[in-house]
Symmetry: C2
Subunit: 322 residues, 2 copies
Amino acid sequence: MTGGEFSLIDNFFASPAVTRADVSLGSGDDCALLEVPPGRQLAVTMDTLVAGRHYLPQTDPWRLGWKVLAVNLSDLAAMGAEPAWATLSVTLPAIDEAWLAAFMQGFSALAARHDIQLVGGDTTKGPQAFTLQAQGFVEPGRAMLRSGARPGDAIYVTGTLGAAGAALQLLCADPQQAIPEALRERLEQPRPRVEQGRKLTALASACIDISDGLSGDLQHILDASGCGATIELGRLPLLPETRAFMQQRGQWQLPLTGGDDYELLFTLPPQKQPALDALLPELGCEVTRIGTIDSEPGLRCIDERGARRDPGQAFDHFASDD
Amino acid sequence: MTGGEFSLIDNFFASPAVTRADVSLGSGDDCALLEVPPGRQLAVTMDTLVAGRHYLPQTDPWRLGWKVLAVNLSDLAAMGAEPAWATLSVTLPAIDEAWLAAFMQGFSALAARHDIQLVGGDTTKGPQAFTLQAQGFVEPGRAMLRSGARPGDAIYVTGTLGAAGAALQLLCADPQQAIPEALRERLEQPRPRVEQGRKLTALASACIDISDGLSGDLQHILDASGCGATIELGRLPLLPETRAFMQQRGQWQLPLTGGDDYELLFTLPPQKQPALDALLPELGCEVTRIGTIDSEPGLRCIDERGARRDPGQAFDHFASDD
């Protein structure tokens, strides 16, 4: 943090949208100086988004600024952490002031919503990419890990699945076409489940955010917890627009593999079911039971008729269709 | 931190060279979980290095891994912070296992030297670039800021200046040519002044690390402190190889503008001079008084004969020669 290459962003760093009392020194020196509250662990995460790989180059800059922060807040949410601070690296081939101002406004809008302060970063010239490091607080022993799932636990997801994957397929085929806004918004402006994650820490036995697709991210929980799972395909929560897309294209596996959902996948011990039921009105989003943790290793999917479907084969089929 | 794209680096993240007792959960979940010691502030910094802009693409990977960490440790050093944790984003167009292994070995060699643990990060495909976020501890009120310099303070630098700038000019002209190893090492494998920074916290009124060149980085101190400075050019510490390069090319301004030095520039109140003199044997590196903080705004340079030289003009002249 020794001086960036674009003064416009330096000004933005110097005047963040959120200012917190626990930031003793923000941007503008060699380091920021921060105060972690006594009795709290620090939860840290970092994600990089590269143009053309993690987002389409023509993505609206306001939404891209939002998304760069959102994907990291989603990781904090998956641990049940309270967001606090972020550092941002911006790499751009050239300056476009209107584009940058919109990017920073989108970033700030989400930062204000979750009271996270941008405390510094770096700006460099190069191929367009963004790296964000986000930090939050969690009470010791309360973070939701991937390793706590046990046979008999119910598997839940927040929100709906597959909409971002559908939007990406449509926009990759034709970036200029009009697509349903409900799908586009899920791809370009995901809502990290920060409040839900914090409320679930007392209940969930394991949690992860779904960024690479339900089946792959659930597998991370199964690997860390040493168990298996059965998913009931008929229970997967879908937007009407997503269901229509899947039916038109025969892509029943989209909500398993689509990616970019940024919903929480969590497991719930049976004895915590009443507590979850009581919490539901406060969660502020749909929460759906989609399956069960088993002792038998591996991931199984059953359709509405009780017949088994192979998500691995399904994914291969999908890939060869693409 | 939701799963990287290169398993080789994921393995490296999972088995860092340094493991610290204050890391409750390292790489492999949505976040790392860290314990800040009671009564300590967190110092955080982030820097991005882009291939072809911040380093030559043919740079030895071991030294590049070292440098990615070194430039961030240098920011911690400038605050007087004790290094603790790092998160690393690696973006590469393709996998070269031998190259990556060497990169990680160089990174680990420096991490072990300063007891800093890699606690997570991200790996993505894209144009080659590295972003590191580093964190350390400092006692409240003890961090060295840029804003504390006062008229009458002496200006000191650690080590020597200009060697990295000379190496860069030589290698840009011909990347394959043999150049003096003393110059090349200063460019490619800088030694961050971490121990020196920690020992100087009780003495220095202001400090910065020299990454963009002495005159520019000193100007940051002058701006933050609201004062000016006079530099005595004849006192600037130089390696013999750097002096020879400057004489051959008439580049007297190289140590002012060269950049990539990663030395500490600090200011010392007169009453702290005896304490610095007593500390010198423990510092383990050359420390040279190069000038004085003035109340008159601006940066002045005086040569060996007492004549004033204009570093701004000098820099323009240098740029037009390049």
